[in-house]
């Protein structure tokens, strides 16, 4: 493998991350944390290979537990982020039947 290429990806992705996340609204810092958490659970691709591959049983058990943990983060992370974001409304669209 090309070590230098992977290091390039890491450094450039970090700079993109710093640039993009600096501009995220402070209102959304809690949903930001849950969405980045769900996205980093993409580590699930690693555990799919370990779980599904032709490997000794104990290795696949480790993989299956990791797969379960990542999948939990993906499901709960994206769902709760969406649930929270749905709640952010501006004044004019608010409520049911204009209580304000």
């Amino acid at each position: 493998m090309d070590i230098w290429a992977t290091l390039y990806v890491f450094v450039l992705a970090s700079f993109i991350g710093l640039g993009v996340i600096r501009r995220v609204s402070r209102l959304l810092h809690t949903p930001l944390m849950s969405i980045t958490n769900a996205m980093s659970a993409i580590a699930v691709v690693g555990s799919i290979i370990v779980t599904g591959g032709d490997y000794p049983l104990r290795i696949r058990i480790l993989g299956a537990i990791a797969l379960f943990a990542s999948m939990t983060n993906i499901v709960s992370g994206f769902l709760i982020t969406d649930r929270m974001l749905k709640m952010f409304k501006t004044g004019d669209k608010r409520g049911d039947g204009g209580r304000s």
Partner: protein, 470 residues
């Protein structure tokens, strides 16, 4: 061919993730970000699963189903429990990284020791140390936030704490170096196990000296660790999507941690190794007891009715009392009278970054009325009533004036500059931090003692009953 397709899919997924974060910059586009994130994840999972090397499909199905079974309820927790849910998900992320790292090491040890290059060993060891310490550290943090009985809430400190923690870390590093140099030695698997145990232990030791008020920073730091452990996994597996997603997660945690530290005027090392609790207890000694002026709900309601600009300052106490819906009723009552109502949000109010915003949004308060500290402070002298709901340190003027105060230098919301202040407080004891708040004894401050939800409920009743009678 297969390789090309999967690499292309990973590239698309990386781009979707970056778009997802880009769309988070305003609430109006943020939900699109979630869809992009889901799409990116789905593409990557499908392509990886389709890899011909994957043959045990039932195992994968089982683990995925289990993930849904646990994940769906975890997404339905009340929003006051979001900090502990977040900590728990960092724990899961760390665990996954740790386990995959462990599996890969033993696999290569069994089937192809030539794969255990120095670079890979460094990456694997970084992955397991970060992964396992994030696992136990985040579990501890979640336990503290959930107030689990056997997890100590107050910071636990003991003599030579930092020294012993650092030497423990030093031992782990020394073992790591030895393992990197001799990854296939007879004693190497045992050493690998020892590093895992040390990382698990280190995670616990890192979190026990940290108190509730520092949780926002600590959660952000753990978020960063969880991201970095995914990066390390990417290096181990030579997977650029993992590196990208992990780097995005890591930098997000880093930025949030920096914001939290700035908002408390403290450094990373001070949060992690400062043992805040001790300093604060010492600062509480001495001094004569000052007297509070308390006010009745009726009186407070009258003053609120006369106001034209009210600022509500929420804190963790609002979350504990689940008072956000009552706060919204109060907001409605005041708005009905044509009073301007804004919420002043301190960056570290609550137990995680952005905690207050989510709770108030849940109560259907428009986000346009949630104002950051830096924006509201210049307006504070024009504010008729500042209503403090379960906030304490973030409005304590000692941060500006008292050099001996442990919170000296921390930026605060200038509640004391408002024309009058009402502070809702559960009891007459000093707050979580154990320090007196001068704001409560100021000339223009009146206290409303009681549970935040109950007090605000009474205020709403007064305002609703009184309307139209004058």
């Amino acid at each position: 061919m297969m390789y090309g397709i999967s690499q292309l899919a990973y590239l698309v997924a990386s781009a979707l993730f970056i778009f997802a974060l880009h769309w988070m910059n305003t609430p109006s586009t943020a939900r699109k970000g979630v869809y992009a994130g889901v799409a990116g994840t789905a593409i990557a999972v499908v392509v990886t699963w389709a890899d011909p090397a994957v043959i045990h499909h039932w195992w994968i199905v089982l683990a995925i189903v289990a993930g849904f079974v646990v994940g769906i309820p975890l997404a339905m927790v009340p929003l006051t429990a979001v900090p502990q849910r977040t900590a728990l998900s960092h724990a899961f992320g760390g665990l996954a990284a740790g386990l995959v790292g462990t599996a890969e090491y033993y696999l290569w040890l069994l089937e192809g020791p030539e794969h255990l290059t120095t670079f890979r060993m460094v990456a694997i060891i970084a992955e397991i140390i970060l992964g396992y310490l994030t696992f136990t550290g985040s579990l501890m943090a979640a336990g503290k936030l959930q107030e689990v009985k056997w997890v100590p809430q107050r910071p636990v400190t003991y003599p030579l704490q930092n020294l012993s923690n650092l030497s423990l870390f030093g031992v782990a590093l020394a073992l790591a170096v030895a393992l990197t140099l001799h990854p296939t030695a007879r004693w190497a698997p045992a050493l690998f196990g020892a590093i895992i145990v040390l990382a698990l232990l280190f995670g616990v030791l890192l979190i026990i000296p940290i108190g509730g008020a520092d949780m926002p920073t600590v959660i952000a730091i753990l978020n960063s660790y969880a991201g970095l452990s995914a990066v390390a996994m990417g290096f181990v597996l030579d997977n650029k999507l993992l590196i990208t997603a992990g780097a995005l997660d890591g930098s997000s945690g880093l930025i949030l941690a920096i914001i939290m530290c700035k908002a408390m005027n403290r450094s990373f090392t001070n949060v992690l190794f400062g043992a805040f609790g001790q300093v604060r207890q010492a600062a509480d000694e001495g001094g004569e007891r000052k007297v509070y002026k308390s006010e009745t709900v009726e009186g407070a309601a009258q003053v609120l009715e006369q106001a034209s600009f009210v600022v509500i300052i929420p804190g963790y106490g609002m979350a504990v009392a689940q008072a956000q819906h009552k706060v919204r009723e109060l907001y409605d009552q005041l708005k009905k009278r044509g009073i301007t109502v804004k919420f002043a949000i301190h960056p570290v109010a609550g137990r995680m970054p952005g905690h207050m915003n989510v709770l108030l949004a849940e109560a259907d308060i428009p986000y346009t009325d949630l104002v950051e500290m830096d924006e509201i402070n210049p307006d504070m002298p024009q504010v008729d009533v500042a209503l403090v709901v379960g906030a304490n340190d973030v409005v304590n003027p000692a941060a500006r004036t008292d050099k001996n105060s442990p919170i000296y230098g921390m930026p605060i919301i200038d509640a004391d500059k408002a024309r009058s202040v009402f502070a809702i407080k559960r009891s007459k004891n000093p707050g979580f931090a154990g320090i007196d708040n001068e704001l409560y004894f100021a000339d223009r401050t009146w206290m409303l003692f009681g549970d935040a939800k109950a007090v605000i409920g009474e205020l709403v009743k007064q305002l609703a009953g009184g309307s139209g009678m004058h």
